[in-house]
């Protein structure tokens, strides 16, 4: 039944969207914050509401037929309660503001954990539901307290992903009516390229003919420099920091020629996506070994450097390659 009605439902929806672009998903992207108001909140009865209406009609008919006024009074009361519950649902949405959308980048194929921040204003809001793509999350917001909702958004490919239109709705208070609103925030979320699982090791610079000094980055080797935010904790030289009264980091000694250079152009003979996933894997491998590296793409040259910030810059550059 449901499956049979689906094409019809889609056709009706498409027609409605053509007629009333503001009503639905065709709303153009808009900048944050997005505040819901009466011109973008729409209400229809739910299936349950329709059943309830049919029952009210049957009750009214029975009461009128038997000329039973108390029963008619009860029917009218139920009808009025149902009717006014539209306003309760409307008030749950009206004035709600979408303040922020954040998501830490993930590798293609993983789900983006999109955090939506809603500002309820000076009003308690119950039983709100937010739907992004196929994921639906219920949440409530206390008055004057930001509500953070995390929705999983599956990803397929690298690059910038526009946040799909967000449907915000509620059936508060009695489930009879479902006011809804479509939000189309102008947000693009970054998805890193998926690194390949296996492949050759990162190439060493061929120009380097000298002997290799394979040294572990120990406590006693390398040069000291000041701590930067992106440095991993294990690099902090605690003794030196205590001596100097500020955080110091011991950099592994950088020997010219031991630098890793990941060149996009050098990987000829492979298709674009394969090159990008290999470069991504090398970046991650270099990060785990904590060796400085340089990424060279057709657009830019990043590095040499190592650390979270550099890793992000490189992966972002790879993600955004055409």
């Amino acid at each position: 039944m449901r499956a049979a009605l689906r094409p019809l439902r889609l056709r009706v929806l498409a027609a409605a969207e053509r007629r009333l672009p503001a009503l639905t998903r065709l709303r153009p992207p808009e900048a944050l914050p997005i505040r819901l108001h009466q011109r973008r909140i729409y209400v229809l009865p739910t299936v349950f509401g329709a059943v309830f209406g049919l029952m009210l009609a049957a009750m009214a008919l029975g009461a009128l037929n038997y000329n039973n006024n108390p029963a008619l009074l009860l029917t009218c009361l139920l009808g009025a309660i149902a009717f006014l519950s539209v306003l309760g649902g409307y008030r749950a949405l009206d004035g709600l503001t979408l303040r922020g959308v954040h998501a830490a980048p993930v590798f293609a194929g993983d789900a983006l954990q999109v955090e939506l921040t809603f500002d309820p204003g000076n009003r308690r809001r119950d039983a709100l539901r937010v739907q992004v793509a196929d994921a639906t999350i219920a949440f409530a917001a206390d008055r004057a307290t930001l509500a953070r909702v995390v929705v999983g958004l599956p990803t397929i490919r690298r690059g910038l992903v526009a946040l799909p239109r967000v449907r915000l709705w509620t059936t508060w208070p009695y489930g009879l009516f479902g006011p809804w609103s479509w939000l189309n925030p102008q947000i693009e979320l970054l998805v890193y390229p998926r690194p390949e699982t296996t492949g050759p090791a990162p190439p060493e610079d061929v120009r380097d003919a000298g002997p290799r000094h394979l040294r572990q980055s120990g406590d006693d080797y390398g040069t000291l420099r000041e701590y930067r935010d992106s440095d991993p904790q294990r690099m902090i030289a605690w003794k030196a920091s205590a001596r100097l009264d500020r955080l110091m980091v011991r950099e592994p000694e950088q020997i010219a020629g031991r630098e890793l250079v990941f060149d996009y152009a050098a990987l000829d003979g492979m298709d674009v996506e394969a090159r990008i996933s290999r470069l991504a894997r090398w970046v991650l491998a270099a990060e785990t070994q904590h060796r400085p590296y340089t990424l060279v793409t057709s657009r830019e040259r990043l590095g040499p450097d190592v650390g979270t910030a550099h890793r992000h810059r490189c992966l972002q550059a790879l993600a955004l390659l055409p």
């Binding site: 000329n67 039973n68 006024n69 029963a71 009074l73 009361l77 009808g79 000076n122 039983a127």
Partner: protein, 652 residues
């Protein structure tokens, strides 16, 4: 998604509430069985929640047993009683399989329907209030079925009730104006679309036969039988308040039976009124009987009724609803001719019964010069030797002999019955009349309420030249019975719950019920058509009513929309409030702050506009800027000073 414990509990409460309003008319064993099923399911879900819904091998037998039980009890599945029992049963069975919010919602909707069905049995104010109260758990359950925030800590049933019930009460209160409007203007049907409900089986009130001693249960029943409004606003004196119901002609030795008399034709109107007619309206409670009660003698038959030759009124249909009748009676009259047939049956006595009574009557007849002497002799005898009691001793085969010569204690049935037997034996045509006598005059509401306990029996004798004359032998024994009502007559035997002060309370309460009946229960097409009279529409038609409904609804909805669209004010802290107040005062003085204007820019403009107050303005604004921008949490004392300074500031 399955119902959590809290949601399940609320649905259980809602269903129990819908069931409870039906308990008064459900067979006891069925209420008990349904209640057991409800509790069993609740316990199962509570302790063995993982079992899920009741399995088919439990549900199927129950589902089949329900119609079987209904047929066993009522004989069929259709009609008001079987239908409602079926509905309540189905509601409880739905509960046994409710595991998801969808099932629960369906159960609650059906619960609302079941609530309405309860009003088909009892339209009284207490029942309506009970149903309204039972609506609260339904709404609270629907509210609890709305999803909570994912991952939010579970709340208890009690906490949910504490939040849900007041919210439901507010919902109902807010819906009352709209509901009343719809109730008033929803077009009523002139004719029912399908048959009216079958009459109630349980009959109350007086019946169409009378055995001395049979009325005593009725005499302690304080429920109202009917209420009367008098056109003049004042009732006749207590001694005149005889409400005639049935005339009993036939006596078989123990029981008086009603023989339906022929409908009266206009030509039969052998009654000559001697007093101005008294106009009044009798509102009968449902009795499921067809007779009406009128002061003797009714002059006309209201629509839907006819008048018999014995001046009783009979309705065309059994009285199944609270029904008003406009009546007209004369309290003083004369009748000239007694048809021979009537005379014959008014003298008929069964052979071989009550020999001593017959002998006594024969003796009176020999000594009497006219029928009045016989009546006087009988009343004198009652007055001298008889006592009034509701606990009358039982009587044997010759019941009237036993009563007249041995027990000599009884109440109206005994007196009227024995008196009529004596009269017939003495050759005076006589008959027994059953109805009500008296009634309580409610001064608050200016109406008379007649209760079942006012049921009474008296006699009528035929006197040539006068016609049928009422004689109440009970009054000869216990005048209070007639002057002050049935309670006064049996006051010394009354149990505590029939105490006088309780009755006073009940009479007050009766006024509320009376108003409820008049205003709500009897509201009909006729009253509806008169609703728009103040607006110059005498007989409102469907169209007018629909327009009125539209206008009213639009007005109420506009008000509701104003509420819904109202923005929440961000209250801010004390500093913000004081600054806003200041801004409003300055705006009234002629210079409003722009929305995007900061205090410094505003102060600049103010200084130019009000140079004379520049110094004061600067101090106040400096305080504001210090409070608002210098610290995250302003000092309360300084805030207070700023508010005071802002209030003192005068620019003009």
């Amino acid at each position: 998604m399955k119902l959590d414990a809290r949601q399940f509990d609320l649905v259980a409460i809602a269903i129990a509430a819908a069931m409870i309003v039906h308990v008064p008319h459900l067979p006891v064993w069925l209420s008990a069985a349904l209640f057991v099923i409800l509790v069993a399911r609740w316990l199962q879900r509570r302790s063995r929640g993982h079992w899920g819904a009741a399995p088919v091998w439990v549900r199927l037998p129950l589902t089949l047993a329900l119609p079987a039980a209904v047929i066993a009890e009522f004989g069929n599945l259709f009609g008001r009683e079987p239908g409602s029992v079926l509905a309540v049963g189905m509601l409880v069975l739905k509960f046994t399989e409710s595991e998801k919010p969808r099932d629960a919602r369906a159960a609650v909707v059906f619960g609302c329907f079941v609530l309405m069905a309860a009003l088909l049995f009892d339209q009284s104010l207490p029942m309506t209030c009970l149903v309204a109260v039972a609506l609260l758990p339904q709404l609270a359950a629907l509210r609890a079925l709305e999803p909570r925030a994912d991952g939010a800590p579970a709340t208890t049933t009690l906490a949910e009730l504490r939040r849900g019930l007041p919210a439901a009460a507010i919902s109902i209160a807010a819906a009352v104006p709209l509901a009343l409007l719809a109730f008033l203007f929803l077009p009523r049907l002139a004719e029912p679309l399908w048959g009216a409900p079958a009459p109630n089986q349980g009959k109350t009130g007086i019946s169409d036969s009378m055995t001395p001693g049979g009325l005593s249960e009725l005499l302690i029943d304080d429920t109202p039988a009917f209420r009367v409004d008098f056109a003049g606003g004042t009732p006749p004196p207590p001694a005149q308040r005889y409400w005639r119901g049935l005339v009993m002609w036939r006596f078989d030795g123990t029981t008086w039976a009603h023989v339906p008399a022929a409908p009266m034709r206009d030509a039969d109107a052998a009654l000559e009124p001697l007093a101005a007619p008294l106009r009044y309206e009798v509102t009968l409670e449902p009795s499921q009987q067809r007779w009406l009660f009128a002061l003797d003698m009714p002059l006309t038959a209201p629509p839907g009724t006819w008048r018999n030759t014995d001046y009783t009124l009979v309705s065309e249909k059994p009285i199944a609803d609270v029904t008003p009748f406009k009546l007209e009676s004369t309290l003083s009259y004369r009748q000239t001719t007694l048809p021979p047939r009537e005379r014959r049956i008014a003298l008929l006595l069964p052979e071989g019964y009550n020999p001593r009574a017959l002998a006594l009557a024969a003796q009176w007849r020999e000594n009497a010069r006219e029928p009045r002497d016989v009546i006087r002799a009988a009343l004198a005898m009652y007055n001298a030797d008889f006592s009034y009691t509701l606990a009358a001793p039982p009587l044997g085969r010759n019941s009237m002999d036993d009563f007249l010569f041995d027990t000599r204690a009884g109440y109206c049935e005994h007196f009227s019955s024995s008196f009529t037997v004596l009269m017939r034996a003495a050759g005076v045509p006589a008959r027994v009349v059953v109805g009500y006598q008296g009634g309580y005059w409610n001064t608050l509401g200016s109406y008379l309420v007649v209760r079942q306990s006012d049921a009474h029996a008296w006699s009528e004798v035929w006197l040539d030249g006068e016609g049928w004359v009422r004689v109440d032998p009970t009054a000869a024994v216990r005048p209070e019975r007639v002057d002050r009502g049935s309670r006064a007559a049996s006051a010394d035997e009354a149990p505590w719950y029939r105490a006088e002060w309780l009755l006073a309370l009940r009479n007050r309460w009766d006024l509320v019920n009376h108003l409820w009946n008049r205003i709500v229960v009897q509201f009909s097409l006729l009253q509806q058509q008169g609703l728009l009279t103040p607006f110059g529409i005498e007989r409102a038609q469907w169209r007018d009513l629909a327009i009125a409904l539209g206008i009213g609804t639009t007005t109420l909805l506009a008000l509701a929309m104003l509420w819904a669209l109202r923005r929440d004010r961000d209250a801010g802290d004390a500093v913000d409030r004081a600054y806003r107040r200041l801004g409003r005062r300055l705006a009234r003085a002629g210079l409003a702050r722009d929305d995007a204007e900061g205090p410094a820019a505003y102060l600049d403009r103010l200084r130019q506009r009000f140079p004379q107050a520049a110094g004061e303005l600067e101090t106040v604004f400096a305080r504001y800027i210090a409070l608002r921008y210098a610290s995250a949490s302003p000092d309360p004392a300084a805030t207070h000073e700023f508010a005071a300074a802002a209030a003192r500031l005068k620019v003009a």
